[in-house]
């Protein structure tokens, strides 16, 4: 198994803005402030992907199902040994 060298939990967070209605559900669902709101475009923006832990709450909350989170595996999980 190769180690995680990026220190990150995810590779990418994809939001298909063409299908997004701007309901803010994803932003509310995020418990670590990854997704912010862009007042100009009235759409969510992935502001801090480095803090995403692929809990997938945003995906589950999206009524249009336009979000996909791509995890980084192996994870940067600190070893206890």
């Amino acid at each position: 198994m190769t180690d995680n060298t990026t220190g990150l939990w995810v590779k990418e967070i994809k939001i298909d803005l063409d299908g997004c209605t701007g309901c803010k559900s994803c932003m509310r669902a995020c418990f670590v402030d990854v997704i912010r709101w862009d007042e100009e475009s009235r759409r969510p923006v992935v502001a801090y992907p480095e803090d995403c832990v692929w809990c997938l709450a945003c995906e589950c909350a999206c009524p249009e199902q336009v979000i996909e989170v791509v995890p980084e595996i192996p994870a940067p999980l600190r070893s206890s040994y």
């Binding site: 198994m1 939990w9 418990f31 997938l56 995890p71 600190r78 070893s79 206890s80």
Partner: protein, 580 residues
Amino acid sequence: MKTLETLGEVITTDVLVVGGGIGGLVAAVKAKEENPGLDVLIAEKQTTGWAGKATKIGGFLAFLKPGDDPDTFIDFQVRSCGFYLNDQRTLTKYVHHTNEAVQQFADWGARLAKTPDGALLSFPAFWAPGFSMTLIDIDLMRPIRARARKLGTRFLDKIHVVDLLTDGDRIAGAVGFDIVTGRFYILKAKATILANGSCGYKVRRFWVSGTGDGVAAAFRVGAEMRNAEFGNLYGHTVFQDTDSGMVGCEHLVNSAGENLKQKYLPGAGPAGVFLPIQLAIGMQREVVEGRGPIRFAPPPSEEVAHKPPVELPKLEEWMRRIQERERQYGLPSEAQREIGAPLHGETSCVKVDQDMRTTLEGLWAIGDASYAGSAVAGAMPSPPGISPGSGVMYAVISAAWAGPSAARYAAEAGPPEVDGRGVETLKQEVFAPLQREGGVQPVEAISALQDVAAPMKYNLRRSKDRLEEGLARIEAVKERLPELQAQDLHYLSKCHEVRSMTLCAELTFRAALMRTESRGFHFREDYPETDDANWLKWVILRRAGGRAGGGAAGQAGDHGGDIELSTESIPIGEYTVRPK
């Protein structure tokens, strides 16, 4: 002197709840139900009703079903989980409120597991006698958020509450900042309830929100801490490459194929999903002595049970997504996957009484802010070591006690006076990391903290030498806190999380160094025996000299001050369960 209004947005309320997870929501609802005339405000770092840990994995609720035997359960909980460090009065009160709490979820409209004929599905707890379990769906906060809103609770989201305000010896609210706009908030309150969780040092992915902000803020204003040494939960065995799986304890093998449960817990019965301390220490020993990595090797007939046994649609959908993602992007199925036992931490040491009052007037602490500090768990981290289903339950039950207690206090108390000079100092401290050019980035400090908090050699397989080595490393992080630099408001929030986590780590390590015996999840290689003659005591920590002056929590550069340690004898003679 500047007036408060020139320093920031001043909001006055009767009851301030810090944290909008499950505990904070229930505390707000219960305060409003106690006294609808009171103003109740929830300040939450993210979004009220979605925040915290209750929606992450979740599922189990452990409770005393009618017909269960409370005495048998309490006897087991004290002898085999808490090892006599429980406050047995609070534990007994807790146990007798569990059934009511499950009913309350049903009344609010949360989705509980049902039998085919519509009754509550329950089954005997597999980890303890005299107790039962049921399941709840992961959208459990939604109806409670709706209830809180209907009762007129105000929500203030995206506010990171940093420090508590004082008026003489009384807590007078809190200060914080909006992580989006940067606006400074001065929240004046007659009563304040801390409901913002424990500290997990951002090691495990579903627990990254737990940074001990409430624990640290309470300590800085002089609140006492209890059972801080039990902030060292290594609760599950999981696949190290994904931090998921929860593979249990039965089928772990070393590189030679030896079964580790048989090796370290010979003759033990089924171990359930939680990791016993002897096995955790054994796993670390295997790896250190060159017999790693540890693998999961179930007999071909057994698969990891991922699917909940009942219909809970949100939980099922979430699990399906996680599994799909692991299949798509994870290691190939033939890969030899390492098993880890990552740190949960769960430093939750704010000392509280049976109504969740802290040792400071006007301040309550509930849920994971005070689980260890309430001594319901005893010599176990929260949720107490081998007691699945107690995290959400303790949060809602402690909230149901604190809400009405705080409401009654607020109805009688006068408005607090808050000194502008103290608030100005706090404001400077809050925003200081934004002013610095260069310095320590919060991610560096988090990494350095994890290097101390996560390894079992420091935090589980403890000894004087290694605890002192760990403390020296924590001190090194602490010395550099005044150099923390934030590139924006999101990272400013992280800087304050680092401050909180550093203090939580120090509290845990100092308490662990003082307890010169082994008990529960506190194992000292240099004191391997349990010492009932000398250690039926709680370790109490508080800030040396009480709180800082100035009418508020601290001066610029305040990172907690010195820690004063003492012990408090457990009134074991007054309790029902005593060492034989």
